[in-house]
């Protein structure tokens, strides 16, 4: 330690301080700032370029993904449309069938009712005609029968006899 202090040269210290600080200030102004600035600028440029490339790649991926998505959506939509159409078709058919059924039933019922009514009317007509005819026949028969006394009596007897039977 003593030797070190003994060796210490103030003159050398002075020159070293002076020259080093001068060198430091000069280099800072004329060398380090421009060098570090340029390097930083370049690094910034490289970073920006890389980022831009990355962004473009992402964009590209997005576009591909979008088109794929669109395609998929279109497919789904088409399927849905087809399905819907099928359903509509089926429902229309079913409805038509049902309606036809109902309509047919109605027609049949009406026809039956008409037939029934016609039948009743015809029966009633026949009955009326039969009654008329019976009356006319009876009139003629009676007219014929009643032309002779015997016959009249006999008729009365027969009729009476019929009534008993009934």
């Amino acid at each position: 330690m003593e030797k070190l202090i003994e060796q210490f040269s103030f003159g050398l210290f002075f020159w070293q301080m002076l020259l080093f600080i001068a060198l430091l200030l000069l280099l800072r102004k004329y060398a380090w700032k421009p060098i570090l600035g340029a390097v930083e600028k370049r690094e910034e440029g490289i970073k920006d370029a890389l980022e831009a490339a990355e962004a473009a790649k992402k964009e590209m991926q997005n576009v591909t993904a979008d088109s794929e998505k669109l395609l998929r959506e279109a497919k789904v939509e088409r399927d849905a449309l087809l399905k819907e159409a099928r359903e509509i078709k089926e429902s229309i058919i079913a409805e038509a069938k049902e309606q036809a059924q109902v309509e047919g039933d109605k027609v049949i019922k009406q026809a039956q009712a008409t037939i029934e009514a016609e039948k009743k009317a015809a029966v009633a007509d026949i009955k009326a005609q039969v009654a008329n005819l019976s009356v006319e026949i009876a009139e003629k028969v009676i007219k014929e029968e009643l032309s002779n006394k015997d016959k009249q009596l006999k008729l009365v007897d027969d009729m009476l006899g019929d009534i008993k039977l009934n």
Partner: protein, 379 residues
């Protein structure tokens, strides 16, 4: 820390090998006389290398007449001694002469400048005894460690060898990074040297600053971290060149760097940082009182450890490397020189790593301290 441990390990290995080689030496016909002098000379040389110098010497040699010759060039000496005194270091003649400036006399002794009389007398105090004598050349008499010259020491602001290299590195860094910055104005892609330097700049930012300080606050510390990282690294690397310079093994240099880290930490510290120092939250009151001085001391110890770590690692590296190179001159047999060369080569590679590692550690720990200073309250 790990490096100094590693260096210690290497030193241990070297001692083992040295023992083996010197055992061989004893068997051989090598004469012991002169070897001691050589060892002393190597030690002196290493000691001298570790110190700063007022001259820029590439190498020195001794002529046949025993005269020291130095190859290099002188540097300006700047003294503050009742006024500014500037003269060339050639006047000091590597400690052998007395420089006369404006009526005052100065002499270089153990790499320090003292004010003397016209004859260049150095007066000793301390445990050196009564004798007063003049010393020529550094370290002729090695038993002067305990003695302190009592001569007046003027304030020495000389442009020493280390200062020259600090200026050189500062200029180099400014030119290189300025041109790199200019290139960026034309295009954001790095070109030329920038291709090599940009990853290092980004390393400091992404591996040192952001993880330690945080994403939002690292920016204002980047200038210091980058400057200190490249400064320490380049100057460490220069220390490994044969120019024989080593700036970062001067405690004054590492002290200057550490004190800047300390000031930045202290002046950018937020409320939370000071709260953790003086009134640690979440502990009982008596503990708070005990912790406050410890934490306060810690703020000084942290930059202090930065200073010592860089200084010690670089010094240790230089000492070990030069010792191994020195072995070559001591073991003048077939095994010594190749071994010394191989070890020195391997160690040089290790030192290259240490040069970068110490710069990284200094920057990393500075960033860690800044991170502590601006950390937000998480409680």
């Amino acid at each position: 820390m790990r490096n100094s441990f590693f260096s210690k390990k290497i030193v241990a290995v070297i001692f083992l090998i040295a023992g083996f080689v010197s055992a061989q030496n004893h068997e051989g016909e090598e004469v012991e006389t002169g070897a001691h002098d050589l060892k002393t000379e190597i030690k002196e040389y290493i000691d001298h290398h570790l110190l700063d110098s007022h001259d820029f010497n590439l190498y020195s040699y001794t002529t046949d007449t025993g005269e020291h010759k130095y190859v290099g060039f002188p540097l300006p000496v700047i003294l503050w001694d009742n006024g500014l005194k500037v003269f060339s270091s050639s006047k000091l003649k590597h400690g052998e002469g007395v420089a006369e400036v404006d009526g005052s006399y100065y002499k270089l002794y153990h790499n320090k400048i003292y004010k003397t009389d016209a004859e260049g007398t150095i007066n000793y105090g301390g445990h050196h005894g009564e004798e007063t004598h003049t010393e020529d050349a550094f370290g002729e008499n090695l038993v002067v460690d305990d003695s302190h010259p009592t001569n007046e020491k003027p304030l020495d602001f000389s442009i020493t060898k280390n200062v020259v290299f600090i200026i050189a590195v500062a200029l180099l860094m400014f030119l290189v990074f300025r041109s790199m910055a200019k290139r960026y104005q034309k295009s954001t892609m790095p070109k030329g040297l920038g291709r090599f330097l940009e990853p290092l700049v980004l390393f400091v930012r992404d591996e040192i600053a952001i993880p330690n300080i945080g994403e939002h606050k690292y920016k204002r510390y980047m200038s210091y971290l980058l400057t200190v990282f490249f400064f320490v690294w380049i100057i460490n690397l220069l220390g490994l060149t044969p120019l024989g310079v080593n700036v970062t093994n001067n405690i004054a240099v590492t002290f200057a760097l550490a004190i800047i880290t300390y000031f930045i930490t202290t002046f950018t510290g937020n409320k939370n940082y000071w709260k953790h120092i003086f009134w640690m939250p979440g502990v009982p009151v008596p503990m708070k009182i005990i912790l406050a001085p410890i934490e306060l001391l810690g703020t000084f110890i942290k930059p202090f450890s930065l200073m010592i770590r860089l200084y010690a690692n670089i010094t240790a590296g230089h000492v070990v490397l030069m010792s191994i190179i020195g072995l070559m001159f001591i073991f003048k047999n077939w095994i010594g020189s190749p071994l010394s060369f191989l070890l020195a080569f391997a160690l040089s590679l290790l030192e290259l790593l240490v040069a970068a590692l110490q710069a990284y550690i200094f920057t990393m720990l500075s960033a860690l301290y800044f991170g502590m200073a601006v950390e937000e309250d998480h409680h």
